[in-house]
């Protein structure tokens, strides 16, 4: 059992990292579109400055999740692969359009506007569809009959719980990304962009928390087994809520290093990320031992133990090799004043 738990923890870790990076990624693409016609405040500029070097790295995480599912839990990959054919294909199509047009928009200056709209709009739909995987794994929409599995799409798209998840995904995407971009603008000393993104975060924070409550409310009716287990972990849920309040408060505190400016966005980003970490830990814990309720558990889907050990060894080796690369990447794009405070209005493609 210990090895299965280790494996699902790794998978959960990938999902969490991707969820945070992807919300920032798709959110930044969306804001870049929203503020396109207001070049003076530089909000689009800041969003692109974050997005250009990071989207490839973010995209790699989604591949890492897919590979982790089929290498750690091959039987679950069978079920998920079968039932996710339609939603998965739609996600892939949107992802292809989004990534390609994001690159194109940086290359073809004159057509930047339509290209940014295509990538921004297709991008914001992706989190809503991606998160649908969660309610699908709650089991209500999957039909198991004599060894065959299928997804009841009509049932899925008439479920209030599904819409609560979609609403939560999109509002969280916009909330987290505006928060990160507020921090990124402040570090870049783009104060107009900062005040715009700070305002967006203040509006979107409460919306996302309402969506979270809506998820719990609909979950109680539609997937009581997981609702019940989450409520058992009430301290974690309260911790998550507390972190949300700290994050919110941080946006109103006076800035430490800048006079007359409100907000400590770095603290807000950290608090809100921890908020999502606590909540998704409580959710993930309640989801165990099921991968797809009630047929597929982490024990029944687990790979061969010798394969697991080989894969786990590569995780350790891979982490050791990649970690310095990530640090270097961080120092060049998140922490280098020469990159953050570049004065040119045009972004390098």
């Amino acid at each position: 059992m210990a090895e299965e738990l280790l494996a699902i923890t790794v998978l959960w870790g990938f999902v969490f990292i991707y969820a945070v990076m992807a919300t920032m990624d798709f959110g930044a693409g969306f804001w870049s579109m929203i503020y396109f016609n207001r070049p003076k405040i530089k909000a689009t500029n800041v969003a692109n400055r974050y997005l250009s070097p990071t989207w490839e790295v973010t995209n790699t995480f989604i591949v890492a999740i897919v590979v982790a599912v089929y290498s750690l839990f091959p039987t679950a990959a069978y079920t998920l692969g079968t039932v996710l054919l339609i939603p998965g294909s739609i996600i892939l199509l949107l992802l292809a359009i989004r990534s390609a047009f994001l690159v194109f928009s940086n290359i073809a200056e004159e057509y930047r506007k339509p290209l940014t709209y295509i990538s921004g709009l297709s991008g914001i739909l992706i989190p809503g569809l991606l998160i649908s995987v969660l309610p699908i794994t709650h089991g209500d929409f999957v039909e198991f009959s004599d060894g065959r599995q299928s997804l009841d799409l009509a049932h899925l798209f008439t479920s209030p719980n599904e819409y609560a998840f979609i609403g939560f995904a999109i509002s969280s995407t916009l909330f987290l990304s505006s928060l990160l971009l507020a921090d990124y603008s402040k570090a870049s000393e783009e104060m107009e962009a900062y005040s715009v993104y700070r305002r967006d975060a203040i509006v979107l924070g409460p919306i996302s928390i309402i969506m979270a409550f809506l998820i719990m409310f609909t979950l109680k009716r539609e997937a009581f087994w997981i609702y019940e287990k989450m409520i058992d972990d009430m301290p974690l849920l309260l911790l998550s809520l507390g972190l949300f309040l700290i994050g919110g408060l941080a946006l109103f505190l006076p800035s430490v290093n800048k006079k007359g400016v409100r907000g400590i966005p770095r603290l807000a980003v950290i608090a809100i990320t921890l908020q999502y970490l606590a909540a998704s830990y409580a959710y993930g814990k309640a989801h165990l031992p099921y991968i797809v309720y009630p047929e597929v558990t982490i024990a029944s889907a687990f790979t061969d133990p010798s394969s697991f050990r080989a894969i786990f060894a590569t995780y350790i080796a891979g982490f050791l090799i990649l970690f310095p690369g990530f640090i270097y990447f961080w120092s060049l794009f998140m922490n280098d004043k020469r990159y953050l405070r570049q004065k040119q209005t045009k972004d390098p493609a």
Partner: protein, 455 residues
């Protein structure tokens, strides 16, 4: 499962791969050209080489915009369309996928560093970043091809009563045809990357007055790419010969289908060209070279080459693979010949002007190289039919139980068409706006960013 659903699933995945490998192959080949140009620049300080590196980097970045998402599609579609196959692969052969993720990360991290931090990092760091990009691209090609190699020469597990037992993931990883198959893909990708560059350079030379600054720039690019392409096409051929010998040993019916050989025999003839005819059991309209196939398969004329009749007909690969195989070998040979002519013309005859027909041959070389890898890939995968894992798992048992895949096929084909057209337009647009002359001016002025430029 109706036959048509299996066929649609194969067509859909085949279309994804057929589209993806164009970008994947150039994505492996181009970084080597960029690295060569960067090194030449550091050595000669000739600005033309750093301009080449910059322009190829831009092209590479655009191609990645399609290559990365289509690769993501391919990796995920494996599970969506072939859940039966991926359940086995997940248990036995997950290592290459897993290690490939690290290669992706290295490529993605250092590609961004190379492009967006080019002007902030020292030259040695730029070269190192580029080396890591090229290495990451190379490793992902080698690793994903290893899964293909395993499909042909599976090992590292046993099947007892339908259950997979005695799994040794590293034995599966180092399956017999790993090195030779992965080598074939990597070498042919370098060949293709080089000839794609040669195509563009030759086309530009035809459109530019002889002897001008820009003409000389393209001439340097052409010579560099033809030399690199010549070396790698030659190495691909040597490796291809070895690949055929592996088929002879491990997948004899695939070699028999590739050569249109029905009767098992020693002193077997090699059929070049023509079409395999199922009724008369021979290759029509082809040229036969006596004894040659036996020699190629086992290095001696009395080598016994197994024919298709030794296998039940329902396990034969489709017979049209003979034509695909010939087309692949034909293109490869043509590319070697082309590089040899160019080399002799330039170095021994000391002519600085290539004749027009040769220039047009260079223009054709890039598209031909891409066609060559398409033929080779379709041959390699249809030649393995009816299996996904040779003699272990059939394609029919691998496919999804979901039906009505037709609409998905149409949607994906449509999106690939849009991306294919858009990528061409974006590329033409960018290079028309940012001409070689613009880049020469930027490179010769100090303090003007070259890599960050886009007008």
């Amino acid at each position: 499962m109706a036959m048509s659903d299996l066929l649609i699933a194969r067509s859909l995945f085949g279309t994804t791969m057929g589209f993806h490998i164009i970008f994947a192959t150039i994505g492996v080949g181009l970084p080597l050209m960029m690295l060569t140009a960067e090194l030449l620049y550091q050595k000669t300080k000739d600005h033309d080489y750093v301009i080449m590196a910059k322009r190829w980097t831009k092209a590479f970045a655009v191609l990645l915009g399609v290559g990365i998402p289509t690769g993501t599609i391919a990796g995920t579609q494996l599970s969506l369309l072939w859940p039966g196959f991926m359940e086995v692969i997940g248990k036995v052969m997950a290592l290459p996928f897993q290690i490939e993720i690290y290669a992706f990360f290295i490529e993605a991290l250092f590609m961004s560093i190379y492009v967006y931090a080019a002007e902030r990092i020292p030259p040695w760091m730029r070269i190192s970043s580029l080396v890591l990009v090229a290495l990451g691209a190379f490793a992902s090609a080698v690793l994903i091809t290893n899964v293909h190699a395993f499909e042909g020469t599976p090992q590292g597990f046993r099947i007892v009563d339908g259950e997979i037992v005695d799994i040794d993931p590293w034995a599966a990883f180092f399956n017999p045809s790993f090195i030779v198959t992965a080598g074939h893909v990597a070498l042919s990708a370098y060949t293709t990357g080089a000839f794609v560059v040669a195509s563009v350079a030759a086309f530009k030379m035809l459109r530019t007055p002889f002897g001008t600054r820009v003409y000389k720039f393209h001439k340097k690019a052409l010579m560099l790419s033809v030399i690199v392409g010549g070396i790698f096409s030659f190495l691909t051929a040597i490796n291809g010969h070895e690949s055929a010998q592996y088929l002879h040993e491990y997948q004899p019916e695939k070699l028999a289908a590739a050569e249109g050989l029905f009767e098992t025999q020693s002193y077997a003839p090699l059929a070049i060209g023509g079409f395999t005819d199922r009724e008369t059991q021979r290759v029509k309209w082809g040229i036969e070279i006596p004894w040659a196939l036996s020699f190629l398969a086992g290095n001696s004329f009395d080598t016994v080459v197994v024919g298709l009749n030794d296998f039940p007909e329902e396990e034969w690969p489709p017979l049209f693979v003979h034509t695909l195989f010939n087309a692949m070998v034909g293109i490869g040979s043509l590319l070697i010949l082309l590089s040899l002519i160019a080399f002799v013309w330039n170095k021994f005859l000391k002519r600085d002007h290539f004749p027009r027909f040769l220039m047009w041959a260079f223009v054709a070389s890039g598209p031909l190289a891409v066609l060559g890898i398409e033929f080779g890939w379709v041959f390699a995968c249809t030649g393995r039919q009816p299996w996904t894992i040779y003699r272990v798992l059939s394609t029919a048992d691998s496919v999804t139980t979901a039906e009505n895949l037709g609409i998905l096929f149409i949607l994906f084909a449509l999106v690939y068409a849009v991306l294919g057209v858009a990528v061409v337009f974006v590329m033409l647009y960018y290079f028309k706006k940012n001409t070689v002359i613009d880049d020469i001016n930027r490179a010769e002025q100090r303090n003007v960013p070259l890599y960050g430029s886009n007008t």
